[in-house]
């Protein structure tokens, strides 16, 4: 694996340039106040007047901050996924997508983990629905969710080798044997 030669950064120091300041969202403000020692960095994306926020959090506070977001009103689970940023220093990104139905706000919390220890604490204690999504992320990207009640492969067979959505996993091919039409015959 080429990844081992890459410099491993401390996962606590993720710097993402804030595209816009988070303002006007009471529940996110409450989140920031609750964790004064954590640096929140946020992107905002607008499409047809709908704005959502993408917040990077350190993996050490992954469950705490999600729980705090849950308590602040982001109580609806939507999606959880993992992304392989191959050749970047903390290689894997885990993103959980939650919404607040009362405030009609969407936030995507993300965290980064390195290749040599791709372990993220499970969110199944906060959202029961994270169960299948974490199994999918484990199956396809190979991020290990610590404390998950049943972390097994979900889409691929149990005896599958490797995690296909990693960037260093070959797309693969099945060799086809052409028996007829060759010049030798």
């Amino acid at each position: 694996m080429t990844d081992e030669t890459l410099p491993q950064e401390n996962t606590e120091d993720i710097e993402v340039v804030a595209e816009r300041e988070m303002t006007g969202v009471a529940s996110i403000d409450a989140l920031i106040e609750a964790f004064p020692d954590v640096t929140f960095t946020a992107h905002s994306y607008a499409s047809s007047d709908v704005v959502y926020h993408m917040i990077s959090v350190p993996v050490s506070h992954w469950v705490d901050i999600t729980q705090a977001a849950f308590d602040a009103g982001f109580d609806t689970f939507v999606d959880l996924t993992a992304i392989d940023h191959f050749a970047e220093a903390p290689r894997f990104e885990v993103a959980v997508n939650i919404i607040s139905m009362t405030e009609v706000q969407r936030i995507i919390l993300t965290t980064r983990v390195p290749y040599d220890n791709p372990t993220v604490p499970t969110l199944t204690d906060v959202f029961v629905g994270a169960n299948f999504y974490e199994r999918e992320a484990y199956d396809l990207v190979g991020v290990v969710f610590e404390g998950h009640p049943d972390l097994t492969r979900i889409l691929l067979p149990d005896d599958w080798v490797g995690h296909p959505l990693r960037k260093d996993y070959d797309i693969g091919a099945i060799p086809v044997e052409f028996k007829a039409g060759s010049a030798d015959l």
Binding site: H43, Y45, S47, S48, D49, V50, Y52, M54, D75, T76, F77, V78, D79, T81, I83, D84, H85, A95, N97, M101, V104, R106, I108, T124, F127, V128, G129, N131, F132, Y133, R135, E136, L140, P149, D150, T152, R153, I154, L155, L156, P157, D158, D159, V161, G162, P164, L165, D170, I171, G172, A173, I174, P175
Partner: protein
């Protein structure tokens, strides 16, 4: 015949080895070759181990949250579990009422379902990986095959995400065409869902009627896009072609035909005592369960959650149109049927308004980054030919970034989480599939109900396995 004492240990070893070669042969036939791996994988019985296994009862994570009503089975005594009295059977993956290749491992006590484990992956074709090898211009051909009953919604979610990364807008006419096609797609999908739900619980004629009206909608799709499903019609930057001549008359005819059909279904089912008995109080999900499992769409609205992305996070200017969001009260199969039937009517209402109010103009973005030059210019200009060629061979250049965009599909929130690192292909595309969340909630819905209700609850969930497995 020789005596048993004549068999030497060496002979026995040879026999074992012969057996092993037979197993080796079989292994060679059944193993999947992964490029880059030299070693053959050890043979495993993949059907009864690991993820396929029903966990010990005390460790089962599926029932953490169950709050819905339990079965009132007055003929089954509420005894403490006796293992000998319980049996584990498999429903599916090859079973007509599992709507595809869903496999349910069910622990039964008599006729009562005590535990359910959904096992998925039988239709997994690695479409998220495939998406990384296709350009943005080709991507919508891939996503349209995921939830094959709502292809337009998939294409729309994909196109909106790419447009969000590109930072472009589409003309108003393209928006109106997109809304028209997705709402008609919702009608077609709900008609099919009602039809199969009827058939699964014994109202066989419902199957004929539902498909009959769906055919009218599909005819319009075929006329517009050339295909009945997997259209690749909504693309980044607009739609592939303008609506065909005389489409207004087609829509007026379609609205009348489907509305008449829906009236017929309601006459057929609404008061039908068998239908009511089979659906009322079956497959209940509480609002809190919906929020925890990420259930959205008609399932959540049948549980009384007033949340429709078309209203709260509108896309493609859908908030301009006047429509209502039907809500259920009890979150059972009967409420889901009613919510879907009412959503058909509301979607037709939107289609009616589009016929009256569609703006004139272009159906594609004028941005040359995503739109090839018009056909006429290609004949006249070399640069236009090159431009056309570049878009369809190299693809659209998309700046780096991450974007999430979701649309309200017939089964709930269809979302596209896309990471771009520049270039013409997405770095990663994750699909937020509504049926995946719905399948996850099946144990909560089905535990402690009767096995007949399991079929009705599954039918009311309306999962599409192409969407679950991707």
């Amino acid at each position: 015949m020789t005596d048993a004492s004549d068999t030497t240990p060496e002979d026995a070893d040879v026999a074992v080895e012969e057996n092993e070669t037979v197993a080796d042969e079989r292994r060679r036939l059944h193993d999947i070759w992964v490029s880059g791996t030299e070693e053959r994988m050890p043979f495993a019985h993949a059907t009864d181990e690991g993820a396929q296994e029903l966990l010990p009862r005390e460790q089962d994570p599926a029932l953490v949250l169950q709050q819905g009503i339990a079965v009132e089975d007055d003929y089954v005594e509420p005894i403490v579990a006796i293992d000998e009295e319980r049996q584990i059977i498999n429903i599916g993956p090859q079973h007509p009422s599992t709507h595809g290749v869903l496999r349910l491992q069910v622990e039964l006590e008599g006729e009562t379902v005590r535990r359910v484990k959904p096992i998925i992956g039988y239709l997994h074709t690695g479409m998220e990986k495939t998406a990384e090898t296709l350009t943005y211009a080709q991507g919508s051909t891939n996503v349209t095959r995921m939830d094959y009953l709502s292809p337009f919604h998939n294409e729309l979610a994909f196109s909106l995400t790419v447009e969000q990364l590109l930072g472009i807008d589409v003309p108003e006419r393209a928006d109106a065409i997109r809304v028209l096609m997705t709402e008609l797609n919702r009608v077609a999908s709900h008609l099919l869902s009602s039809a199969t739900m009827g058939m699964d619980i014994g109202a066989l004629s419902m199957m004929i009627y539902g498909w009959r009206e769906r055919e009218v909608v599909l005819d319009f799709f075929e006329k517009t896009t050339g295909l009945r499903m997997n259209h690749n019609y909504i693309r980044p930057g607009g739609v592939a072609a303008d609506l065909p001549d005389g489409w207004e008359d087609d829509i007026v005819h379609l609205i009348k035909a489907v509305n008449d059909g829906v009236d017929e279904y309601e006459e057929l089912l609404n008061e039908n005592p068998i239908f009511l008995d089979r659906t009322i109080g079956v497959g209940v999900l509480t609002p809190q369960e919906c929020m925890q499992f990420g259930i959205s769409g008609p399932l959540a609205r049948a549980s009384g959650i007033d949340f429709d992305l078309r209203k709260v996070m509108p896309y493609s200017g859908i908030d301009k149109y006047d429509f209502d969001v039907p809500l259920g009260l009890h979150g059972d199969a009967n409420d889901r049927y009613h919510v879907r039937i009412e959503e058909i009517r509301e979607s037709l209402k939107i289609a009616e308004q589009i016929v009256e109010s569609i703006p004139a103009g272009d159906y594609r973005s004028p941005d040359p980054k995503v739109t090839p030059p018009p056909r006429k210019r290609i004949d006249e200009s070399m640069e236009a030919l090159i431009h056309h060629f570049k878009i369809f061979t190299s693809g659209i250049e998309v700046p780096p970034g991450t974007a999430y965009q979701s649309v309200e599909g017939p089964r709930g929130e269809i979302g596209c989480h896309m990471v771009s690192k520049g270039g013409t292909k997405p770095w990663r595309m994750h699909w937020r599939a509504p049926s995946f969340a719905a399948v996850q909630s099946l144990p909560t819905m089905m535990t402690d109900t009767l096995i007949a209700d399991l079929i009705a609850a599954l039918a009311s969930t309306d999962p599409v396995l192409g969407d679950v497995d991707r």
